[in-house]
Amino acid sequence: MTDSRDLILGRIRSALVGVDRAEHPANEPVARDYHDSHTDTGLANLLARNLTDYRAHVHRAAEAELPGLIGRLLAARGARTLAVPPGLPTDWLPGDSGTRILHDDGTLTATELDRVDSVLTGCAVAIAETGTLVLDAGPDQGRRMLTLVPDHHICVVRTGDQIVASVPQALRRLDPERPQTWISGPSATSDIELNRVEGVHGPRTLDVVLIAEG
Amino acid sequence: MRVGLFLTCVNDTLYPRTGQATVALLERLGCDVDFPLAQTCCGQMHWNTGYGRQVEPLVRGFAETFAGYDAVVTPSGSCGAMIRDNHPRAAARSGDPGLADAVAQVMPKVYELTEFLVDVLQVTDVGAYFPHRVAYHPTCHSLRLMRLGDRPTTLLRNVRGLELVDLPGAEECCGFGGTFAVKNPDVSAAMGADKLRNAESTGADVLCAADNSCLMHLGGMISRRKGAIRTLHIAEILAATETDPEGAMWARTGAHR
């Protein structure tokens, strides 16, 4: 294996004989003639519009209204079980809604999650221009598996501090060492006649709740 | 303005009417037109077929032949692009700094015909008259390499009597592609057939373009299928006038008067 490593690196070095090897790549900055963002106002509305465009359902609520809204979303689907990550704020949870709540302690298996109806999480950041929610496995988001296997995902976004305009702004906020999932609408495919159809392996229903701070 | 006409070998041999129309048009607009007899071919066929090394003498010949003019005008988007994009590459590869210099000198003065009319002469109404329904096919090299944009259609819109119709799928290649037409004849013909179907769907009686090579391919298909639409180089439309709608006068000064 070491042999192939040396072989490949050797091939690369001989392929690059025309390049000045004394030059350090860090000294060759790349021109970045593009915008840091394409919008700076109305981010929550833009996020909502783009999420809706890709068939996510967007709801707005004050934080105090969350339990009621989430209860209604679960009831509308007849959800009997709801999985939640360990660090989810408990005051988001619906009261007596008839839905059994499973607090993920890291032992739920994929097969068990396959029998769970819904999952409720927060997010790390949301990108308005692309209609994207980024999960980075933080305490209110949990393991990646949690938001993947159940067919219904409710994701809460705090509009006050979690929405950025653009992809460049989002990347600056995120830590690459954490596993991330960027979600832009429910699972979809373009594989049949190159037309988008929603609903393949990931959650087929994505409810997004935008909450105003305060 | 002293204009050197680079007609291209295809036009010189197969489409002299296009050359006569170009001369008539440019002279009507006050240019002093010359056709230097030392001109031959831009080398595009060799270059694009993989014989780039044979192009160097042609590049040298072009640069020498057209060195002395205020402007060099060619009624071909494709050959114009060959000169503009690839003559410098061929010159650089020759390792001859003199040739690279000569090419660099002549290059800024080379224009495709419609580009010359709109950008240099700054005319968009050339006083033409052509009472026909016309579809314009933007050939790939005039569209994507020469970036003629709306220059040809602006000129056509100002031709009296001419009804310009929108060509569906206008920006799709007609399938000529130089030796592509004979190296991949089936795909080439399939592309040509789609282009003609689109052109015929407009009800136009003339399909025009800024490149006779593409029109040779399309015209050859029309001729074989006995189609009703005819092909015509844009120069021949722009040169037509009310007093001479069919261009009978263009050749009058020639040998066969």
Partner: protein, 478 residues
Amino acid sequence: MNAVPLGMPAFPAAARDATRNTTLRRNLRHATHTIRDRRAAAVAELDDWAGLRAAGAAVKDQTLRHLDHYLEQAEAAVTAAGGQVHWAADADEANRIVADLVRATGETEVVKIKSMATQEIGLNEALAEVGITAYETDLAELIVQLGEDRPSHILVPAIHRNRTEIRDIFRKTMGEWGIPAPEGMSDEPRELAEAARLHLREKFLRAKVAVSGANFLVAETGTLVVVESEGNGRMCLTLPETLISVVGIEKVVPTWRDLEVFLQLLPRSSTAERMNPYTSTWTGVTDGDGPREFHLVLLDNGRTKILADEVGRQTLRCIRCSACLNVCPVYERAGGHAYGSVYPGPIGAILTPQLRGTTSEIDASLPYASSLCGACYEVCPVAIDIPEVLVHLREKVTEQRGHVVERAALRAAGWVMRDPKRYTALQRAAVRTRAVHPRKVPLPGWGKAWSATRDLPALPAESFRTWWQHRDTPGGTT
């Protein structure tokens, strides 16, 4: 790269059959035109597209110029994050590494995310030889696998199939591979997607090993990125205990920040979306979340040869978006199979002959599978000048042995053209004999190829230059 498919004819012959297959023509036309218009709209939303495109090209070029540096940096970062890095000089070595890693887990099944690199090396076939079954989980790959078909598009390998054909494949074969298609399934895309969901869910829940490729590998952090739509990628990257990613050495980008360019360029160019439904990033292994073991296999397999060619090098910028396929008039009519490679279309026409060489008939014909219309270059999000590389490769082909008649003809034409006297003499001779010129050329070769569908133009009685010399008004001879 794997060998040329057995009995693969040159492009023109393979394309001829495709142009006569009306279903195929209709399917391809419908799909490519749909995505073409949507891509244009998605790109038009960003007024800085040209800047993003230039930055994408520049980042890739800069990376390629220091590829050894960035690969070593990536290796160190992946290792520090708990991953293991393997280097594969060619397809055989990569296949052997993956097979050994799978066998070490004791498993005989793997789930796979669509990956061009693993298709290129023929991984599924190599695994099958040692008794390991690879299940493709991307919908289009599944259609190809179940239909015992070959992929014909980079992004949508089953683009040549319409919904009815897909329904028939699912009905007939799903049961042989696992959970059968639901009773009464129609050809509605939604129902077809549902069938795939049910069929594959069982495999995802059971799988202990997954094999993936990656869209990007970030050198500074060792992060891998997979861009997808369906969620099958997330399933493979998250549920199994062992993850093996086979990644071409050109996939490396220097920094986390560089993703800001590519995550804007790629989705809009490939599926015409502002952002694809799912993007996963991971760095080594994470306690309690995802696979416990991660292997990165860095693949050369001809890429360093491309790197050594200063014109061809730009090919390695490719981010496999397939925008060039979707706009290509030749691809639209010839279909992907005619290219005889997992990489069809304009990018395939330059990538395949560089990876495999141009000794076989099909590979030598690929650089000519283009009218040089330039639509591919125009849409390429990393500005690969595909026509330039095609012409460059044509030169390499003509420098090989063979092409005797063509070379002689072009050399003769060049000899004539470089001298105005010879050119004029030949033109005069042609005009003198015009009475006997046919409008069709019955001889084999170029004349026949032209004449099969087209008449030749009639040669006029007088060339322009003859007319010009006898003209008696201003101008005259020079």
